[in-house]
Each structure stands twice: as structure tokens, then as C-alpha cells.
């Protein structure tokens, strides 16, 4: 399968997951929100969100079992840069109420103007950051 075809098929699976979580449990599949909720929520809601995150983490090994190869990962940042990036992503996704899944997939799927504004902003900021990184390198 070509890169674009497997990208589209993988994306369709992500969309299926987002649809199922809404149709079955009534919840938005936003990863930053679900992860942050683990430290804040109590009772059944916390356990349900933990079950989603456990399934998510089981995804790559399940993929490796099914296909015989782990998904490719080529890291592009040094450890200090990863720390700065992680802090920005953690703080920014909470301040902005979502990330690529909550705003990018779920928000666009429900035609939310608020999510579209967030998506255009983080895409623009990401593209500008990479352009500056490449310019400085």
C-alpha cells in the first residue's frame, strides 16, 4: 500500500474510533483532554478514560503483531528540545482546549468554527516553526 493510501486508511480507522466513542459513550475522542482528565476526574469517568488510553497505548504493539513490523519512528529533536516541546504541547493543548484529535478530527467532523480556528492556528504555528528551524539550521 502506498504511503498516501495507508495514511488515508489509518485516518479512516481514527475516524471510526472517534465515531464509536461518540455513538457508544457520547464522548469526544480528544487525546489531550482525555489524558488531562485522568489527573482530574473521579469515579467511572476516570476509569473509562483510562480504558481508552490503555487501548491507545496497545495500538502499536497490536499493529506489530498483525503486520510483523513496528511503525516507523524517526525522531527529529534532541532531548532538551523534546522537553521544551512537551511543555508547550501540554500547556497549549489545555489552554486551547484540544489538539489534533479533539479540534482536528472531532471538531472539524462536527463543523465547529471554534475548532477550525484552532486547527488553522496550530497548523500555521507549526509550519512557521519548522520554516524558522530550517532557516536557522
Amino acid at each position: 500500500m502506498s504511503t498516501y493510501a495507508s495514511g488515508f486508511a489509518g485516518g479512516a480507522l481514527i475516524g471510526l474510533s472517534v465515531a464509536l466513542l461518540m455513538l457508544l459513550n457520547g464522548r469526544i475522542a480528544g487525546i489531550s483532554g482525555l489524558v488531562a482528565g485522568l489527573g482530574r476526574d473521579r469515579g467511572l469517568r476516570r476509569w473509562v478514560d483510562a480504558a481508552f488510553v490503555a487501548g491507545l497505548i496497545a495500538g502499536p504493539p497490536a499493529f506489530a503483531l498483525a503486520t510483523g513490523a513496528w511503525p516507523a519512528m524517526r525522531f527529529v529533536a534532541s532531548l532538551p528540545v523534546l522537553v521544551v516541546a512537551g511543555l508547550l504541547v501540554g500547556f497549549g493543548t489545555r489552554l486551547g482546549s484540544g489538539c489534533t484529535s479533539g479540534h482536528g478530527v472531532a471538531g472539524l467532523a462536527r463543523l465547529s468554527a471554534r475548532s477550525l480556528a484552532a486547527v488553522l492556528t496550530f497548523l500555521g504555528a507549526g509550519m512557521l516553526t519548522v520554516a524558522l528551524l530550517r532557516g536557522l539550521a
Partner: protein
């Protein structure tokens, strides 16, 4: 009964999400950064990698069908009501937060979904990124959400 079904549904949805990410190539930070590198193609440094647009297109199409179906249903199968965000405002925190997230995403090629899923690969850069991300979330919870 409904609690067990809800747990099982969340586990299955999480697994499908993680399989989708693995198949899509979006666990690969170089590929994600290759999408964000739009200027590379202009100066001939690197070819633009459009894969992320195919992933987003596939995901939004299928999720959109599911959400359209959800709008016709009185409630979800295993819960009392659909839990949807009420906030529709496009304001400073939304744009500022999205901008900070975008900078971190561009620097690392990592966002929360792929980073959390890839914890199971045991790769040290992923664990480092996720630990810092949790600190960033805790800082927001401590100093902004409760302020």
C-alpha cells in the same frame, strides 16, 4: 452492565485509534514535520510530505458520518447523554493555546495522540516528551484552570 459496556467501548475505541495511528504513519515525527515543512519544497531542500492531509481527510470523513448519525439519535448506546462542548467562542485562550501547541508540535513532530500511543514502543524520546507534556498540563491546571 452499562458501566462494563462503556469501559469495553472505550478500550476498543482506543485500540482502533492506536492501530489507525500506527497504519497512518503519523507515529513518525519526521513524517509529521515533513508535512509542516511547507517552505522546503520552494527552495528545493526537501519534498513536501502531504501524508498528514490524507490522514486528516480519512479521519474527518468517517468521523463526520458517525457524528451525523449521532445527531439523529436521542442518546449514545451506553451513556445517558451526548457530552459535547458548549463553548463556541473564538477567543484569546483558544488561539494562544493553539499557537503554543503548534510551536511544540513543529519543534518535535509529536502531538498528544501519537506520543501517548508510542509509549508502548519504549523509545526514550517519547517518554521524555510525554513526561514534559504532563508537566505542562499540570502547570495549566494549577495556575490557569484554578486561577
Amino acid at each position: 452492565m452499562s458501566a462494563a459496556l462503556r469501559l469495553l467501548a472505550a478500550l476498543a475505541a482506543g485500540l482502533i485509534f492506536g492501530l489507525g495511528l500506527s497504519l497512518s504513519g503519523m507515529l513518525d515525527p519526521a513524517r509529521v514535520q515533513g508535512f509542516l515543512d511547507v517552505t522546503g519544497a520552494f527552495d528545493g531542500r526537501a519534498a513536501w510530505d502531504p501524508t498528514l492531509a490524507f490522514v486528516l481527510g480519512g479521519a474527518v470523513s468517517v468521523a463526520g458520518l458517525g457524528y451525523a448519525l449521532a445527531r439523529r439519535l436521542p442518546r449514545p448506546a451506553f451513556a445517558g447523554a451526548f457530552d459535547l462542548p458548549a463553548n463556541r467562542r473564538i477567543d484569546g485562550p483558544l488561539i494562544g493555546g493553539a499557537a503554543l501547541f503548534g510551536i511544540g508540535w513543529g519543534l518535535s513532530g509529536l502531538c498528544p495522540g501519537p506520543a501517548v500511543a508510542a509509549l508502548s514502543t519504549g523509545a526514550p524520546p517519547v517518554a521524555t516528551f510525554v513526561a514534559a507534556m504532563l508537566v505542562g498540563m499540570a502547570v495549566h491546571q494549577r495556575f490557569v484552570a484554578r486561577a
